[in-house]
């Protein structure tokens, strides 16, 4: 049992040996990664593109997101949060919040599923990975990273994994969780899962809000604000992704771990109850599974904590959410430096009274250290 008893000494956040931001971002721009694009034709096309966010990618946002934070800022000569394209910039943010390690994910290239042209998508993943390795992972032992893959071309994604999996600092794969069509349970992605299994790398699935139109077009086109869109798109994608991965037997067919990022954790227990219920009532449609969906989740799925949500009204229930999702499967994430980040204390202080020391150390960093090796 992970529940605490009253006789153990209370752990302090200062006592933790390691805190990991299990979903930590760089904020890469075209100017950062395009110089690393190996295919000269692709590079020129994208460099010279008019409005590349809509003619290379297809960003879709209902209204300007976080205008009070992200509006252009003179100090940064860019958007209004500190740039994050050097190890110093990244580490200073981690230091500010007492975080030891960052498991790096992209920001802008996380919308790679929105790239219409498969050639461009594959090259963007290659360029981002080269930039990440050269500028961040090779420069600091405190930074680890996920290899970005283009879901449009799984065979090329597998080649990219084969080529880079053994590079120092690469400790996971990022198969973006938003905009995957067909959904990730489809055999389309088998080459990616096979490569992940071959190289013993977890598959991270990070959701973003600016591609909600791909899988949820009706909701996107009728959402009038970023707030409406952002509130639903993360759980929508996570729930669909988890459902198809499980019901189509991916964790049975491949010996790999999955990490769901950017969806928070309170939805998980609810969803596991639903999935188990459907498995027991409709198992004739789910012949791949040999045990309850929740048991696969306990064995092979991890979830990063941010955004926890506004739990201040009933903080004791956050521990129940962690308990339902499985404390061994929860990893703290800050999501720094994005404007919906969580501090380590936001999670630690709320749940520390409910779990023993070993469990708390696991949630705050040691589980991530073990998984992202």
């Amino acid at each position: 049992m992970s529940k605490s008893t009253t006789d153990h000494p209370r752990l302090s956040i200062e006592d933790l040996d390691v805190v990991v931001d299990a979903d930590s971002h760089v904020i890469e721009g075209f100017e950062d990664y395009l110089p690393y694009m190996e295919n000269e034709y692709h590079r020129n096309q994208i460099e010279n593109a008019i409005l590349p966010h809509s003619t290379v990618y297809s960003y879709n946002v209902a209204t300007p997101p976080y205008p009070d934070i992200l509006a252009p800022n003179e100090e940064y000569d860019a958007i209004g949060i500190p740039p994050c394209v050097t190890p110093e910039q990244k580490l200073s943010k981690l230091d500010e919040f007492g975080i030891d390690y960052g498991q790096l994910n992209p920001t802008n290239t996380a919308v790679i599923p929105s790239v219409n042209n498969d050639q461009f998508a594959v090259s963007i993943a290659q360029a981002y990975n080269s930039w990440l390795l050269d500028n961040m992972l090779d420069e600091s032992d405190r930074l680890r990273g996920n290899l970005l893959v283009a879901p449009q071309k799984p065979a090329k994604a597998a080649e990219e994994i084969d080529r880079r999996a053994n590079e120092d600092g690469i400790t996971g794969i990022q198969l973006p969780g938003s905009g995957l069509v067909p959904p990730p349970g489809h055999e389309w992605y088998d080459p990616i899962y096979q490569a992940a299994e071959d190289h013993d790398l977890p598959v991270c699935m990070h959701t973003v809000a600016n591609v909600s139109n791909i899988a949820f077009p009706i909701q996107y086109y009728w959402n009038e604000t970023t707030a409406e869109d952002h509130a639903i798109v993360h759980p929508f994608y996570h729930m669909w992704n988890l459902t198809t991965l499980l019901f189509r037997g991916v964790p049975e067919r491949f010996d790999i771990d999955f990490v769901f990022q950017e969806g928070g954790i309170a939805w998980i227990g609810y969803m596991l109850w639903r999935l188990d219920d459907h498995y027991l009532e409709l198992s004739h449609e789910i012949p791949h599974l040999e045990k309850l969906p929740s048991e696969y989740v306990a064995d092979q799925f991890y979830f990063t904590s941010q955004p926890i949500g506004h739990s201040a009204s009933n903080p004791h229930l956050l521990s129940a959410a962690v308990e339902m999702a499985g404390p061994e499967n929860i990893m703290f994430s800050a999501d720094l430096p994005h404007p919906d980040f969580d501090t380590p204390e936001e999670l630690f202080n709320r749940i520390n009274g409910s779990f023993d020391e070993k469990t708390m150390r696991g949630i705050m960093g040691e589980t991530a250290v073990e998984l992202f090796r």
Binding site: G249, Y279, L280, E281, H284, P287, H288, L292
Partner: protein, 120 residues
């Protein structure tokens, strides 16, 4: 206390494959089925939400074939699906076919002079 034989049906009532008879015996509703010419008795009670399990349809378990893709039947029609929510149990063993933690009681049967008995 030694087990007692309770008459539940006649052989002629259970003549056809898959047929069943449900009777209340000493406060227990028990169904006896003809599955492949053998008689199997199951308590008419679903451990899920107390539904009348044995009023449900007979069905078959499904598996993924050797090609790793094709869905196919894995059993004969020896699975009872609860009419309330579709939880499925093997009539011969009482075992839920999807989760080994769930099971419904089954009973030994015996045929004597054209009558089928359940023993408990």
């Amino acid at each position: 206390m030694s087990d007692t034989k309770h008459r539940i049906a006649t052989v002629s009532e259970l003549e056809s494959e898959g047929s069943r008879v449900i009777e209340e015996i000493n406060g227990r509703e028990i169904a006896v089925f003809n599955i492949g010419g053998e008689y199997h008795a199951v308590l008419n009670y679903c451990v899920h939400q107390s539904g009348p399990l044995c009023h449900g349809g007979l069905t078959r378990d499904v598996q993924v074939g050797e090609d790793g893709w094709t869905w196919e039947y894995a059993t004969e029609e020896q699975i009872i699906a609860c009419p309330w929510h579709g939880w499925k149990f093997d009539i011969e063993t009482g075992q839920n076919i999807d989760d080994e933690r769930y099971r419904v009681p089954t009973y030994e049967t015996e045929v004597v002079d054209g009558d089928v008995f359940v023993i408990f």
